[in-house]
Amino acid sequence: MTSLQSIDYVAIAAPLVVALVALGVLVLDTFLPPARKVVAGWVSVAGLAVAGVLLVPLVGDTRRTFCVPGDGLVLPACSYVVDELTLVFQALVVAGALVCVLLSLDTVRDTALPSGEYFFLLLSSVSGALTLAASRDLLTLVVALEVVSLPAFALVALRRFDSRSSEAALKLFLVSVVSTAVMLFGLSLVYGVTGQVHLERIATALDDPSLSQPALALGVTLALAGFGFKVAAVPFHFWAPDTYEGAPVPVAAYLSVVSKAAGFVGLALLLTEGFAPYVDSWGPAVAVVAAVTMTVGNLAALRQTRAVRLLAWSSVAQSGYMLVPLGSAVAGDVDAVLPATVAYVVAYAVMNLGAFSVVTLVGRHREANALADYRGLGRTEPLSAFALAFALACLAGLPPGLLGLFAKIVVFRAPVDQGAGWLAVVMAVNVVIGLYYYLAWATTMYARTAEDARPPSYRISWSDGVAIGATLGAALTLSVVPDTILRF
């Protein structure tokens, strides 16, 4: 106990690099002339790329660091573990953040956002997300979660003279802090009952039936709140539509993909590692939340007329789908549902980023970003329109969007296999509702237009092109070889 802990720097390299680059960008920006501000963005891209590369050596084994030794009775426990699950999410976070940064380049320039601060905040949040995926104790989880959230508030508020932006930030902030407070209260109860903060040890402790069950149940339920907020599950979803709409579109993309993925990994870790023995309590709760979430999300999405808001509700609904495997977990084999969650989160990230890429593009030219603005896009921008259509087909889970279809099959498997048929049926109905608005949007692009009302064609910048192309490419590839993401 006296010696300093040895730290596995290889294991923590990725978040570390991202954090350092974040600081570097902030400093660098102050030395950049106004015309060269974009360099900060490219540095961020490079930093994320490096972080991605640094993940490569970690493939194949499990690395642990920040450990406390065991003493006969208790096992040793580590706070930071990089295993396969962690790696998948870290890779996802890095890739997703890369796309978001690429999408941001033009946005930052066009809307005169402070580029140093913007990329600093974004990368800070990313470093939090990377850490979250690796954290294995309550403290690290909470801190990492806050590291994801806090910069996000600022990102949303960064359009300083836009009242919508600041309103969006305030809503995000308030919902976040209240959720966090609730979660912390729950975690404090869990800690109080079990006396442990490491997830593995909590799991061991929970096996003891003499613990105070009501307090534990309360604690576990409340602890879900913080992650529920992150993934925008009902009833923690209220911020999502308003915030997505008020924030710059790439930030919304970031919130809906990277931040949400972080929330899911946190939730998955907490539930399957920490609270696994307690699945009989949280399982049904998550199932109910999942059912309500997808239903509310889809129903609300039906009425939307603006692209970002629609995507916001759709991402609420998609969160519901992602919760389904967790909600159908049963005692004794909790880990069995993890692959489905992972697969769906990854698939969702690909398809949602694909949609957001094109929405960002259109948003640059059409302030309102209403669905009507997409009319005729198929004619003037066939590739972008196809990318969006394909992403929407994936989200709807209908061929040609095979990626989404396979992801849905994976998710459906869990409740069917684990005997939560009702949840599967609710999801089935929701898939149908969801199809309606995705399709409606997709057709708008290909609807016949009056000849005189030619929609303008856009000059697509290099970075946008890469973002759209990369997401489309990923979606297409994964449609053909879905095994890449389904095999976990």
Partner: protein
């Protein structure tokens, strides 16, 4: 080489549609129809070779899901594959000269080819999940065909029809997916051949019933079974001619094929429990569809409702769980595909010429104005009525025979009642078709139509496109052994008897 045949069958139209998608729009627009015809013909040739050699392919695709690219063709899928590829080729040939009034041809041809991929895939898939994937592939293309190239006489009508179509079908197929997963996960495999051989062994009765219900819902929506038919009349009314032809000719068959290929052999106990209900709904569909036709005012809707009645026969045959009934169902399936395909071609031609399908507006005198079209319509109607000597008869006759003597565990008296009611349906079917002929083809023309210069009789091109269908209706009517020889051993095997 033989292993590549079925993948080739799917790849040809798929590549064709992708080529159209990426081809330069201007030129592609001009060459779309000839290109599509060529692709469809090549597909048809491949289908013929496949139907003659019965190849099989089995390679893993998504191991983590247990999804294998297991394709095969046998006596009950071969006719459907031929029907699909044949009708698609005819639709393409039809588009060579007769174009939909609005919309781009390139996209339409591309979508039809994509549709063909889905339809063919459904019929050759031997893996449950693969079947599901192909089952879903057809949805979006068909939806687009209706929504984009459909009839716009009612503002927003085609869009609503397309939406109802896809939402209904999707609801069914998602529930079907649940059934597939239930079966696959309980049995530990998604391989249809293996599952069929097991005849439900290892699946508890409860699981079987549940799975049959879930699977059946998906198939029943597609078929469509009363009361899940509501999407059909609107979809048909709104769809362009080629869309209607393929919708009625092939798409509906995917549901009944699913019953025979999946629901009956894989969960036989479930089938036994649900079959009486299925039979009852089928019979209600027969009578209901016929009655609706009797009062119908729109020609296309009438044919659509007649499909509900005819598919009711198919379902009744399936619900008997006997080789006779199922053979009949499959025969009626093919026959309905041909006859209703022809009828939709004809009605489409009539509608294109008159810009209406309202029987009252059309008035009588089609024999007088367009004798060839009138004669063909009469032929189609008589075939649809189930006249012996034409394709429509054998299927319905065998279905009734099956219902006369249903499988052992089923209540015979109950099925006799079903058969009798279905018999009433036969009479009603006759009635509405002869009424239709009486009101449309016979009598004298309205002056307005007589004055219209553009009302030409069927062109040689149209006749050429329709001729194969007419000939097949005749051939299948005169020589039923052709199909029954192929389907009978497979059906017996699927129903668990000796082949």
């Amino acid at each position: 080489m033989r292993e590549l045949l079925l993948p080739l069958l799917l790849a040809v139209p798929l590549v064709g549609s992708l080529v159209l998608l990426v081809a330069p729009p201007r030129r592609a627009e001009r060459l779309a129809a000839p290109f599509g015809t060529g692709v469809a013909l090549v597909t048809f040739v491949v289908a013929v070779v496949a139907a003659a050699t019965f190849p099989e392919t089995d390679v893993p695709w998504v191991p983590s899901l247990g999804l294998r690219l297991h394709l095969g063709i046998d006596g009950i899928s071969a006719p459907l594959v031929l029907l699909t590829s044949g009708l698609t080729a005819l639709c393409m040939a039809y588009l060579l000269r007769i174009r939909p009034e609005a919309g781009r041809l390139r996209a339409l041809v591309g979508l039809l080819l994509l549709l063909e991929v889905g339809m063919l895939g459904t019929f050759v898939a031997l893996d449950l999940l693969l079947f599901f994937v192909f089952f879903e592939v057809v949805l979006v293309p068909m939806w687009l065909v209706i929504a984009q190239w459909g009839d716009d006489s009612v503002p927003g009508g085609r869009r609503r029809a397309a939406d109802v179509f896809i939402l209904f079908t999707l609801l069914g197929s998602v529930v079907m997916l649940l059934g597939i997963l239930l079966v696959g996960l309980e049995a530990g495999t998604f391989d249809m051949v293996e599952l069929a051989e097991r005849q439900g062994a290892g699946l508890s009765r409860g699981v079987q019933v549940l799975a049959f219900l879930a699977l059946g819902l998906g198939f029943a929506v597609k078929t469509p079974m009363w009361p899940l038919h509501t999407w059909l009349p609107d979809a048909h009314t709104a769809a362009p001619t080629v869309g209607s032809v393929l919708l009625a000719g092939v798409l509906l068959k995917m549901g009944t094929y699913g019953f025979v290929r999946i629901a009956l052999p894989i969960v036989p106990e479930g089938a036994e429990v649900v079959a009486p209900w299925l039979g009852a709904l089928a019979v209600v569909g027969i009578v209901y569809g016929s009655l609706a036709c009797l009062a119908q005012r729109d020609l296309k809707r009438l044919i659509a409702f007649s499909s509900i009645g005819h598919m009711g026969f198919v379902l009744l045959g399936i619900s008997t769980l006997t080789p006779v009934g199922v053979n009949g169902a499959l025969y009626a399936n093919i026959a309905h595909g041909l006859i209703t395909g022809l009828l939709f071609f004809l009605v489409g031609a009539i509608k294109d010429r008159h810009h209406t399908a309202q029987i009252e507006v059309l008035g009588g005198g089609l024999y007088e104005r367009m004798p060839r079209l009138g004669a063909l319509l009469a032929f189609g109607a008589v075939a649809s009525v189930g006249l012996p000597g034409l394709a429509g008869f054998w299927g319905e006759m065998l279905v009734l025979l099956g219902a006369f003597d249903p499988a052992d565990p089923l209540p015979r008296g109950y099925y006799l009642v079903l058969m009798a009611v279905a018999g009433v349906g036969v009479v009603l079917t006759t009635t509405y078709f002869v009424r239709l002929l009486r009101r449309v083809t016979q009598g004298t023309s309205f002056q307005a139509w007589r004055d219209a210069v553009l009302l030409r009789d069927a062109s040689p091109h149209e006749l050429l496109v329709w001729a194969p269908v007419v000939v097949l209706v005749l051939v299948l009517g005169l020589w039923p052994g052709w199909l029954l020889d192929a389907s009978d051993p497979v059906v017996r095997a699927l129903l668990g008897g000796a082949p």
